[in-house]
Assembly symmetry: C2
Homo-oligomer: 265 residues x 2
């Protein structure tokens, strides 16, 4: 393949390519405190947030979609062929950014008063976590707490599945037993043998816990739950996808707490 | 790696391996009218249904999980290494079945009277379709109609994501305009600028239409919709995942039509 001279000038070095490819893996993301987000649409969501963008690789035709970048951002104009070499996607988009992983902080259950909080205990599938972050964002949940054994929020599959919502929803990783033991707030667990979610009065504050795809909520967390809540089953499926359950919980909590009962008198 | 003699006896032939691998692709599934389902749990769901199982490849340790197979089913005992050669999964399960694709039939909108029907217009992601089939099954929707340009229900990623629900939910592929034009039933479209889903009275029959992941509902189908319905947004996300939207529609329709209003008097 022939390259025009001005494109050659911008060619990525081998070490740049291997540096970005290393960030496809969790070990190197942790080491360099950087994660990958792809596509100008997604990148602009992070640019508009508190996240700090380190580097952007962008194809010439899409440069204008990024708007004016902060001065500290390193910008590289790349060809589609170069982008393919560093992308985590089978069909790369128009840009790839390296973004700083924020310092890990912990949250206390004290801060959950007066609102609703979503907690995930051991969710493993990146697509599920990404979808849950996106759903949480839609329904106005500004944070999400995951058990330490849950999938990493900066996994590229999670980042892409959030469709930019990761820029708005803060994700914490911490010991759920230590976090939840002191709280007096209602702790609802999404379980198969609980009370009907549609008949549950969620009031105006509380915590909803959803468990791992196969094993559900861990025993030590289940022991802390104040009420088991169930999405009624009308058909044959054994269970619901955890992203679907989380969505129905978010939807019901918002409907219930904003008094949208839709009842015909 | 050394093999014991009795395992060697059961070795899959090269032509068997290439035949199953061809079925990873849509073209050959159509040609041979066969699709792949993996894992004894999933296979037993199809065995308990109207589907006709052609062949099962199963590791010795899991043979008992299949129960007594109908006589016409061809059974091959395989090693884990052999299963890996024919599997569609990165981490193969304990068995792989070849199942006959049922003859394509059409449904008429006449048959939708007195119940709720879910329709998908151009959904492309196999994981989304699989999750929607599983959710439909949970909420007691016995069928699903997809536009002809939607992802194929017998794609292995769809089959696995249904977690067995494909054995219970019938999926039709047909021209939506032709199907929907004659009906007098309410046609609700999941759109961003419609009436509040929580305040919608779904009555006891009707059709819900959800669109493509990026483009939404096609213009020709949108023109037939009798009411645009929206899941209210409380936060920053631009849209919801289509599997999530479908789930909230199924949940709300069931809650509403079974009069579970959860209102405190």
């Amino acid at each position: 393949m022939q390259r025009r001279k001005d494109e050659q000038k911008n060619m990525l070095s081998k070490s740049q390519i291997s540096f970005v490819n290393a960030l496809h893996h969790k070990k190197y993301r942790k080491e360099h405190n950087l994660f990958i987000a792809e596509g100008t649409k997604l990148i602009t969501e992070f640019l508009a947030s508190d996240y700090s963008i380190d580097t952007v690789f962008c194809i010439s035709a899409s440069l204008s979609k990024l708007g004016k970048l902060p001065q500290k951002v390193k910008l590289f104009e790349v060809t589609e062929a170069e982008l393919k070499k560093i992308s985590t996607l089978t069909n790369p988009q128009d840009a790839l950014a390296l973004i700083k992983i924020p310092e890990e902080t912990n949250v206390s259950a004290e801060s959950f008063k007066g609102k609703f909080t979503l907690i995930l205990d051991g969710v493993q599938d990146p697509g599920n976590l990404g979808t849950i972050i996106r759903t949480a964002d839609w329904f106005g949940f500004s944070e999400l707490v995951c058990s330490v054994d849950s999938v990493e929020a900066y996994n590229p599959k999670v980042v892409q599945a959030t469709m930019g919502s990761l820029a708005r929803v803060k994700v914490y990783y911490q010991d759920l037993k230590k976090l939840l033991q002191p709280t007096k707030l209602p702790l609802w667990g999404a379980l198969l043998d609980g009370s009907n979610i549609y008949e549950t009065d969620f009031g105006n504050e509380g915590i909803v816990i959803l468990g791992n795809e196969g094993k559900g909520i861990s025993t030590e967390v289940k022991d802390l739950i104040t009420a088991a809540v169930t999405i009624p089953r009308f058909g044959g499926a054994e269970s619901l996808n955890v992203g679907v359950s989380a969505a129905i919980f978010c939807s019901e909590i918002k409907r219930n707490s904003t008094k949208m009962f839709g009842r015909k008198e």
